[in-house]
């Protein structure tokens, strides 16, 4: 299994950086103290210029403050920062080398004017490109103008107003990292007790920054997954949403088809759309629809017309797409739906991760409506499972739902870049012989029908949501309906022939405890199992990427273990599914529903408790 290490937020390093007059030291200190009081261990590293007032706006005048914090014991302030807060261009320049590859840069976009670019000695108008920071997550925030706006009724002079900018940044960071602000508020109230105006204005701006973060739903990857780079090759950082988008692109190229994405913006899935929208250069057709329903319906139309059609969404959007997925099932068109899961139900926790859409993906439609369900397990393998989802859809003429989640979508990791030649062939079932073509004539082995689309002379036919006979004629015949329902289910089950068997990490011949997990929890479950094994415990892992159909050897694997414990970020959906599909075992459960990934320590604690029983 993949050698992956999950670094949880327990070790996130943030670097505050600006002019020495921008109050970065105070900002960093306040954030650190608030964090320490919140119960995190911290380690900080102030880094400021020797001159108290070096020339404003220059690289030499940049003052920085780095803090690393986490649940575990933190011994260093972190080598490189995950997040840089830059109040001006000089701060970016001075700190570029201290940011982790793929990290996040939050910057005061108001200060990125020609004057400041010149002062920091940038030679182009794009400082990020100049510093080769293209692949970093960049969040432009109009800190100066929003600070000014929130203090417009205070009758303060410009200089005093600008002095409060740091509070805006601090409020924003508090939102992003879920820090309570009461400590900071108390500090400000006490320190400036004699200057009520200062207290009031600073608190106003602090809250303005916090609310801005909340309104914009700004978030940074809060978790980091590090793969040990042990294979030779060219590497890059990639997040799950980008990997998913690129997996679709790779599949389209391999299959020789145009790629069409019908989509509606939704957190945390939107970056699949933005990534593909940027690829007009490779002929990608992204269609930003009027709603989730139109997102999938345009995709389905594109599938009917012969494109590789995909749609992306998150939980509530999947609910809206249900009816159209049913149509894809009935019409037997190739369609891939990626659901970047988030906390539910309803609007739930849009920016948080969860695995609670599993049963929706499996069953959330009217009628007997089977689809293939896959789940990616790390940010980078979203690429391969997106690719595989397309391969299955195109070769088996079946809709495929790919489950990722907010943790995978926003999380990133180093990834060995594959060559296209490494990827398996994709052979869409495009009809060739019009004399033999019937809309629902099937391959006897795979039960897949053939794909013929408008423009192909001699293949004119009608499909739709009504039940059909083999010729494609509407049929209300009772026998025909029963047979077709069984065929559509069997067709999905036969996809198992394309899939690898379930692997066991640990005791491959069987043992005491088998941890079962699926999808985006892989990094945490494998880390927990690895640590327990190092401690001499008889614990193994079976991680599922294939939900429907389940790997062919699932029962065989389960039968070799005394205790099976299914760990998932919901109330037991996969466990329920396994009880139904692979009965005869007692499935113990570890569940978490906090909008957060598992932590390695809580997984260990729970599994060890089972071992003691």
């Amino acid at each position: 299994m993949k050698d992956t290490k999950v670094i949880e937020l327990e070790e996130v390093a943030i670097r505050f950086s600006g002019d020495s007059g921008d109050g970065m030291q105070l900002t960093g200190t306040l954030f650190s103290d608030a964090t320490a009081l919140f119960g995190n261990d911290i380690s900080t590293f102030p880094d400021y210029p020797s001159e108290i007032r070096a020339p404003q706006g220059t690289v030499g005048g940049v003052s920085g403050f780095q803090v690393q914090f986490g649940h575990k014991e933190i011994n260093t302030p972190g080598d490189d920062a995950h997040v840089l807060i830059a109040m001006n261009p000089a701060a970016v320049k001075a700190n570029a080398r201290f940011i982790r590859p793929g990290g996040t840069i939050i910057y005061d976009v108001d200060s990125f004017n020609q004057k400041n670019l010149d002062k920091a000695k940038f030679t182009t108008t794009d400082p990020f490109a100049e510093l080769k920071l293209e692949d970093f997550v960049k969040i432009p925030v109009p800190i100066t103008s929003l600070t000014r706006e929130s203090l417009k009724d205070f009758g303060m002079d410009n200089k005093s107003i600008l002095r409060s900018k740091n509070m805006f940044a601090l409020g924003l960071i508090c939102w992003m990292f879920g820090r309570p602000m009461d400590y900071i508020e108390n500090f400000i109230s006490t320190k400036f007790a004699k200057k009520p105006m200062v207290v009031e204005s600073n608190l106003k701006v602090l809250h303005a920054g916090y609310n801005y973060g909340m309104n914009m739903q700004h978030m940074t990857p809060r978790y980091w997954v590090d793969a040990a780079a042990i294979e030779k090759g060219t590497y890059r950082n990639i997040n799950g949403n980008q990997a998913t988008a690129w997996g679709f692109l790779a599949a389209a190229e391999k299959a020789g088809l145009e790629l069409f994405l019908g989509s509606y913006p939704i957190t945390p899935a939107t970056d699949v759309l933005t990534t593909l929208a940027a690829r007009r250069d490779l002929g990608v057709k992204t269609f930003q629809a009027e709603d989730e329903i139109a997102g999938i319906c345009t995709a389905l139309g594109a599938a009917f017309a012969g494109n590789l059609a995909v749609t992306n969404t998150s939980g509530p959007g999947l609910a809206l797409k249900s009816e159209a997925i049913g149509l894809a099932v009935m019409a037997e068109l190739p369609l891939v739906v990626v659901n970047v899961q988030r906390g539910g139900p309803s609007t739930g926790l849009p920016t948080k991760t969860e695995q609670s859409d599993l049963l929706q993906a499996l069953y959330g439609r009217n009628g007997e409506s089977p689809v293939v369900v896959l789940a990616a397990s790390t940010p980078s393998d979203c690429f391969y499972y997106a690719y595989l989802a397309c391969k299955i859809a195109l070769e088996r003429m079946v809709p495929v739902i790919l489950l990722t989640d907010g943790f995978l979508g926003n999380g990133s990791e180093p990834w060995r870049i594959p060559a296209m030649a490494e990827l398996p062939e994709i052979k869409p079932r495009i009809a060739k012989d019009s004399s033999k073509f019937k809309a629902y004539r099937r391959d006897v082995e795979t039960l897949a029908r053939e794909w013929a689309f408008p423009g192909m002379d001699g293949f004119q036919h009608r499909i739709g949501g009504l039940e059909k006979n083999q010729e494609g004629t509407v049929s209300h015949d009772p026998e025909n309906h029963q047979v077709n329902c069984e065929i559509r289910e069997a067709k999905v089950q036969k996809v198992v022939e394309m899939l690898p068997e379930l692997e066991v990490f640990g005791e491959t011949d069987g043992g005491d405890v088998l941890v079962v997990s699926w999808g985006g929890t892989y990094g945490h479950t494998v880390s927990a199992v690895r640590e327990m094994r190092k401690e001499g415990k008889n614990v193994s892992l079976a991680h599922f990427n294939f939900i429907k159909p389940l790997p062919a050897n699932t029962r065989e694997v389960f039968s070799k273990f005394k205790t099976i414990v299914v760990c998932e970020l919901n109330l037991g959906q996969f466990a329920a599914y396994l009880r139904d599909q692979v009965p005869g075992f007692e499935y113990r459960q570890v569940n978490k529903l906090k909008g957060l990934p598992f932590t390695v320590s809580e997984l260990k604690e729970n599994v060890e408790k089972l071992l003691e029983d």
Partner: protein
């Protein structure tokens, strides 16, 4: 000039038995569509007919073209995907007042707004037929149906008004029984580049029989319908004696020869006028003060979504820095790993996910 394909109406009929009620207005509309397609000289395989749900939406099954009978309200969205995926196709959308004014209202206005090159035929019978007689968004206020036993308390949509409000480039109106006029209008719709919206006043013989009778009755046709033609004066009446003039910005019916009105005073129809006001007034004309405007009311030019999409792809591709996936994957920040202890790479699909090759 491509060769004459010489299709006839029969080339567009499927072998499926047509199952609309006897006397349904849909038959006449379908004949007109088939005749229009036969005359278009477009290869048969390039036609795609997309529908939603409702009586009219059974349409694709009765055509010999590619067809997709989809789900309620979504034909506009599905057809948008079809046309965007392959702009070379000739795509028709068949929908009804329930399908596109109620459940599919959102897709309807956004289709029009985007101006995707589709031909939409909206069968307006002011009733839900397939579900057996409930009022629809085009049912008149006060009308008694099964779900409004005491009369509706809602105003209806005027489809043309919605089209113009959404920035529509083409709107026409016709009556189901007037096959010849239908054909003319459909031919104009097919010619128009952009979303062509044709409202056909269609009679539901079972649940709303005669709903358009006052307008449609051939006996009163000349008096009650104004057949608009671009560049021609807006004249109607048994003796072509009536016409429309503009008075203080408002349309007004006048009689030629009375009060000093001559034919030269009659307003000339300009379907290409971008300003909405006269087109909107024409669309809103109702009996008994006005005749009902028929024919192509509006046909203006505007950027077309599917063409813009193709153009954008061509423009951006021409300047691209990456030419394929291998180049894209290696673009941006990358680094090499080649340590003495690093192993040879094994492809994912051999190691982590050894899928079986077909």
């Amino acid at each position: 000039m491509m060769t004459d394909l010489a299709y006839t109406i029969k080339d567009f009929k499927s072998e499926n038995e047509v199952r609309w009620c006897p006397g349904c207005g849909d038959y006449a509309i379908m004949n007109a569509v088939q005749k229009t397609m036969a005359d278009m000289n477009v290869p048969h395989e390039k036609f795609a007919v997309i529908s939603g749900i409702g009586c009219s939406s059974r349409f694709p099954y009765y055509m010999s073209t590619f067809g997709f009978h989809s789900i309620h309200g979504r034909a506009a969205a599905i057809a948008s995907g079809v046309k965007s995926a392959n702009p070379d196709l000739n795509v028709w959308v068949i929908t009804g007042d329930g399908d596109s004014m109620a459940i599919g209202g959102n897709h309807f206005i956004h289709l029009v707004r985007r101006n995707i090159d589709l031909n939409v035929i909206l069968f307006n019978n002011k009733i839900y037929g397939l579900t057996k007689g409930q009022y629809s968004p085009t049912t008149d206020r006060g009308f008694v149906t099964k779900t409004s036993p005491f009369g509706t308390i809602e105003d209806s949509f005027i489809p043309g008004q919605l089209v113009l409000g959404s920035g529509g480039t083409f709107f026409a109106r016709a009556v189901d029984s007037n096959v010849k006029h239908n054909q003319q209008v459909f031919a104009e719709a097919a010619k128009h580049k952009g979303t062509s919206m044709v409202e056909v006043l269609q009679n539901c013989v079972i649940f709303n029989d005669g709903i358009h009778e006052q307008i449609a009755d051939p006996k009163h046709r000349a008096e009650r319908q104004l057949f608009l033609e671009h560049g021609k004066p807006m004249i109607f009446g048994q003796e072509n004696e009536k016409g429309l003039v503009l008075e203080n910005g408002r349309l007004k019916v006048v009689t030629i020869g009375e009060n000093g009105v001559s034919e030269a005073d009659i307003l000339v129809h300009d379907a290409t006028e971008t300003d909405l006001s006269i087109h909107m007034q024409l669309i809103r004309m109702t009996l008994p003060d006005f005749p009902i405007a028929m024919g192509v009311i509006r046909s203006v030019e505007a950027p077309i979504y599917d063409q813009e999409l193709t153009k954008q792809i061509e423009t951006v591709s021409a300047k691209r820095k990456v030419n394929n996936m291998d180049e894209l994957l290696r673009s941006g920040n990358t680094w090499e790993v080649n340590e003495p202890n690093s192993s040879e790479p094994v492809p994912f699909f051999q190691k982590k996910c050894p899928i079986i090759q077909s």
